[in-house]
């Protein structure tokens, strides 16, 4: 019973707030209250879920009481639960930001209902134990993201909006083709049941093309090399709160799906990692960071850095040692908090300086000392400067790389880290130092809630850096569970298998 409630609670919190928000359409204050309260409820239920899963192990519930593998199963192992938790954190901060930063018109037009539908899709993807159901949650998430993107981006960004929609549809098609072939081979789509069926050498051989199809599908969604270009084209065009939410969560759902599929269905740990995936991850790091270096627009620089950071996470998966996987998990959690915050600060910079183009900004450190601190914390964390969370994430990943003797990848990771620091320094020098531009906009006051949201995330970044041991412990446990698919199978199918 506890499992039944706790696993559904995050989804219900999101869906309930979406419904309540839609019923209160057009009333800005009600939208704000429902939006923030709903995100708070999501966070609360996520905390309960993590505590429960940490105490009792993998939790499952069979929707509609149809036994697995026939019905839809929801599963939370520690990795899923942690992802839901960080989703709740990001949701609450972005909701507070949006409630204070957006004007009444944007809120009345239905920002929060779609915001919550998006969150429901994200949490559903983390919690589902069924491959087709994962596809459905992906689409729920994407449809909400289409609406949020095009509603806030304005007509000047139609081309990138179209690119976003088409590329994601293409990825969905790849995903669905993979699902079809897998069903033809194994006759089931329940992840645990699939893991059992694919354990037979014959089925594994027949399902090999599916691994490639799913890699492409999730690769597009995660923004892996060479299919990442839709991301930096579309994210900076969206509204600030929307782009922060996308930056934090959407690509990471792709990373989550990659980690789930390549530890459970096609276990990379049994194959001793994948050289091809290491190469893809390295190329992703390099391309993202080099492209970022050539940009001169705050959120566009940050968007390219999402790509390069995705490379780090996938590198952890590709090495597939316990240490590497744990550092990938740590990296994902750190990255979601840090990246969301950077996008929020990008919005504050735009407000304070009147622009996001580096050439039109300057001297913000003098005029806006608080904002400078807010930017510096996540930026240094992203680049991996101690004692912030990013340092610990990178350190463990490099250790894992050295252990696995992937020296080239380690070298690339270090070089990319330095280039990230360069990029962050560029934003710092151009926007916060230097001369104030001639026609600088008179300082508008920054919305207090938005500053609070960003400060909260910055504090969390510091806390994750100073108290890294605790989260590292959790990440290790999560990785250990991932590396033993039998535990997942037993939790879902019971003792029968």
């Amino acid at each position: 019973m506890t499992n039944d409630l706790l696993l559904v609670a995050p989804l219900l919190a999101a869906l309930g707030s979406a419904i309540a928000g839609a019923l209160a359409a057009g009333r800005a204050t009600a939208q704000r209250v429902i939006g923030v309260a709903g995100a708070g409820a999501l966070l609360t239920s996520a905390v309960a879920l993590v505590v429960h899963v940490h105490a009792t192990g993998i939790a499952t519930t069979q929707l509609g009481n149809w036994p697995a593998p026939f019905g839809i199963t929801l599963v939370a192992d520690l990795f899923s639960a942690l992802m839901v938790l960080v989703t709740g954190v990001v949701a609450l901060c972005v909701a507070v930001y949006a409630a204070s930063e957006n004007d009444a018109r944007a809120l009345g037009a239905g920002f929060f209902p779609f915001f919550h539908v998006l969150l429901m899709g994200v949490c559903g993807a983390f919690l589902t134990g069924d491959l087709f159901n994962l596809y459905v949650w992906f689409e729920v998430m994407l449809l909400a993201s289409f609406v949020l993107l095009t509603a806030t981006a304005g007509p000047s960004a139609l081309r990138s909006g179209l690119a976003y929609v088409s590329l994601n549809l293409l990825a969905s098609a790849f995903f669905l083709v993979g699902v079809a072939v897998l069903y033809g081979v194994a006759g089931t789509l329940n992840l645990a049941d699939l893991a059992v069926k694919l354990g037979q050498p014959e089925a594994r051989e027949a399902a090999r093309p599916v691994a490639a199809l799913l890699l492409v599908a999730f690769g597009i969604k995660a923004g892996l090399f060479p299919v990442f270009f839709w991301l930096p084209a579309s994210y900076p065009t969206a509204g600030v709160a929307v782009s922060a939410l996308f930056a934090g969560l959407l690509t990471k759902v792709g990373v989550y799906a990659l980690i789930r599929v390549f530890t459970l269905l096609f276990p990379l740990q049994d194959a001793g990692g994948s050289v091809a995936l290491v190469a893809v991850a390295s190329a992703t790091m390099i391309c993202g960071v080099l492209a970022a270096a050539s940009q001169a627009h705050v959120r566009r620089i940050l968007s390219f850095h999402i790509v390069s950071q995705i490379g780090y996470m996938v590198l952890g998966l590709a090495l597939a040692t316990p240490l590497a996987l744990a550092s990938a998990i740590f990296y994902v959690l750190h990255h979601i908090v840090t990246k969301t915050n950077l996008f929020l600060v990008g919005g504050l910079i735009r407000r304070a300086g009147g622009s996001e183009a580096l050439g039109e900004l300057g001297a913000l450190a003098v005029r806006r000392t608080g904002l400078a601190v807010l930017f510096a914390v996540p930026a240094l964390s992203l680049a991996g400067v101690p004692p912030l969370s990013g340092f610990f994430a990178k350190l463990q990943l490099l250790r894992a790389g050295l252990d696995a003797e992937a020296f080239v990848a380690v070298f690339i990771a270090v070089a990319v880290g330095l280039l990230t620091l360069f990029s962050m320094a560029k934003i710092w020098i151009e926007a916060f130092w230097g001369e104030a531009p001639e026609n600088a906009a008179p300082d508008p006051t920054l919305p207090r809630g938005a500053v609070f949201a960003s400060a909260g995330l910055a504090l969390l970044t510091v806390a994750l850096g100073l108290g890294a041991e605790g989260l590292w412990q959790l990440a290790n446990e999560a990785a250990a569970t991932l590396l033993e698919p039998e535990r997942y199978v037993r939790a879902v199918l019971g003792a029968r298998s």
């Binding site: 087709f132 596809y135 459905v136 689409e139 994407l142 449809l143 289409f146 609406v147 095009t150 007509p155 000047s156 960004a157 139609l158 081309r159 990138s160 909006g161 179209l162 690119a163 929609v165 088409s166 549809l169 293409l170 969905s172 098609a173 669905l176 083709v177 699902v179 079809a180 072939v181 069903y183 033809g184 270009f229 839709w230 930096p232 084209a233 579309s234 900076p236 065009t237 566009r300």
Partner: protein, 115 residues
């Protein structure tokens, strides 16, 4: 039968790919529509094509009669069709606005970043 459907899926995918690479709005939308149709057909075929009866249990029986078709791919296809319908409807509206604002259906002429 399977071969015929497989060939059909191949042709649909080939045509949709050609359309997607055309670079104009309406070709893009048609290509996306065809792409999802091809996927649905494949999903349907992957469940095994049998000329079986409907997967319905008769009054009093616990299971459908032997030789009934597998109902799951049908359910999956139905779900996928609904989703594809929604996404495509959205893409159409988006395209409609784009085409009207830019007065052309050449995608490269639209505003925004060159991805």
């Amino acid at each position: 039968m399977s071969l015929a459907v497989a060939l059909a899926v191949g042709v649909v995918f080939a045509v949709s790919l050609r359309l997607l690479l055309q670079g104009t709005l309406w070709h893009l939308l048609l290509g996306l529509a065809l792409l999802s149709h091809g996927t649905h057909l494949l999903l349907f075929a992957a469940g095994g094509l049998v000329a079986g009866g409907p997967p319905l249990a008769l009054e009093g029986a616990l299971a459908p009669a032997a030789g009934a078709a597998d109902p799951l791919p049908q359910a999956l296809v139905l779900t996928a069709i609904v989703i594809a319908f929604a996404v495509l409807a959205f893409a159409l509206v988006l395209g409609l606005g784009a085409g009207r604002d830019a007065k052309t259906d050449d995608i490269d002429a639209y505003g925004g970043d060159r991805g």
